[in-house]
Symmetry: C2
Subunit: 137 residues, 2 copies
C-alpha cells in the first residue's frame, strides 16, 4: 500500500521538516545541514530514505546533489503534502524553519536555476559562485 509508505516517511520530525522546506523549492544537502542544524550523515540518510520511497527526487549538479519534490506526484502524495501544509501553519518549529530559509535564500537560489537548466551537465564554479563550504560531518 502506497499510502502507508508515505505515512512512514512523514512520521519522523526531521523528514517532515525536510519535506516542508522542499515545498518552498529545491535545496541541496548542505542547505539542510544548516537549516536543520544537523550533521551530514543523518541528513543524507533521511534524504536517502525519502528518495527510496519516492517522496523526493535527487539530481546531481557538479558535486552537489539537489533534492526536490518529484515533478510527477501520485494523487496520494499531492493530498498529503497539501495536508502537511495545512497542519504546519501554526507550528513553531516549521515557522522557524521558514524564517531560516528566508535568510538563507541568497545562498541557495542558484539551486533552483541549476535544476531547470536544460543541460544536466556540471555547473561551472562561476555559475555556482555561492557554493557553500561546510565542515566535515
Amino acid at each position: 500500500m502506497d499510502l502507508i509508505e508515505i505515512y512512514k516517511c512523514l512520521c519522523d520530525e526531521t523528514r517532515l521538516r525536510i519535506l516542508h522546506l522542499l515545498t518552498q523549492g529545491p535545496l541541496c544537502v548542505c542547505h539542510f545541514q544548516k537549516l536543520l542544524d544537523l550533521p551530514q550523515v543523518p541528513v543524507s540518510k533521511h534524504l536517502a530514505y525519502l528518495r527510496d520511497h519516492q517522496l523526493v527526487e535527487a539530481h546531481r549538479r557538479g558535486q552537489w546533489m539537489i533534492y526536490a519534490l518529484p515533478a510527477q506526484r501520485t494523487r496520494e502524495l499531492d493530498i498529503q503534502l497539501q495536508c502537511l501544509q495545512d497542519c504546519v501553519q501554526t507550528n513553531e518549529i516549521f515557522r522557524a524553519d521558514l524564517q531560516r530559509l528566508k535568510k538563507l535564500r541568497p545562498e541557495c537560489d542558484w539551486v533552483a536555476e541549476a535544476l531547470v537548466s536544460p543541460t544536466p551537465a556540471p555547473v561551472s564554479k562561476k555559475a555556482a559562485g555561492r557554493a557553500p563550504v561546510l565542515a566535515r560531518n
Copy 2:
C-alpha cells in the same frame, strides 16, 4: 510535536483501517476482529496504541469496550482524518472494509446507541441482544 505522533499512528495498515472504520461510527473490539479478520490480541494492541496517543477514545459498556474517534479533536487530527478520507476513496482494501461494515451493521448498531446513552452504566443483556460471541484469540 503532536503531528508526529499522529503520523506514527497512521503509518500502520491495521491502524489505518481501524481509524477509517471509526469514521463511520463507533465499534467494539469484537467487530474489529471480524472486520479485519485478525485475532484478538493484535486488535487490542493496536487499539491500545491509538488510545495511548489519543487518536481514539475507549468507553466501557458492560463487558464491551466501545472505541470511537475522540469527541474533542485537535485541529491537526481533524485535518488528518479528512485527508485520510480523501486518500482512501480509491483504495481497494478500504472499500472492501466499508462493504464488510455494511453487512455487519445490524450486528453493531447497538454500539452507537449505547455510547450516547446518558447512563454509562452497563447495558442489560436484553438491550444488547446482538452481543457477539467470538472464539478466544
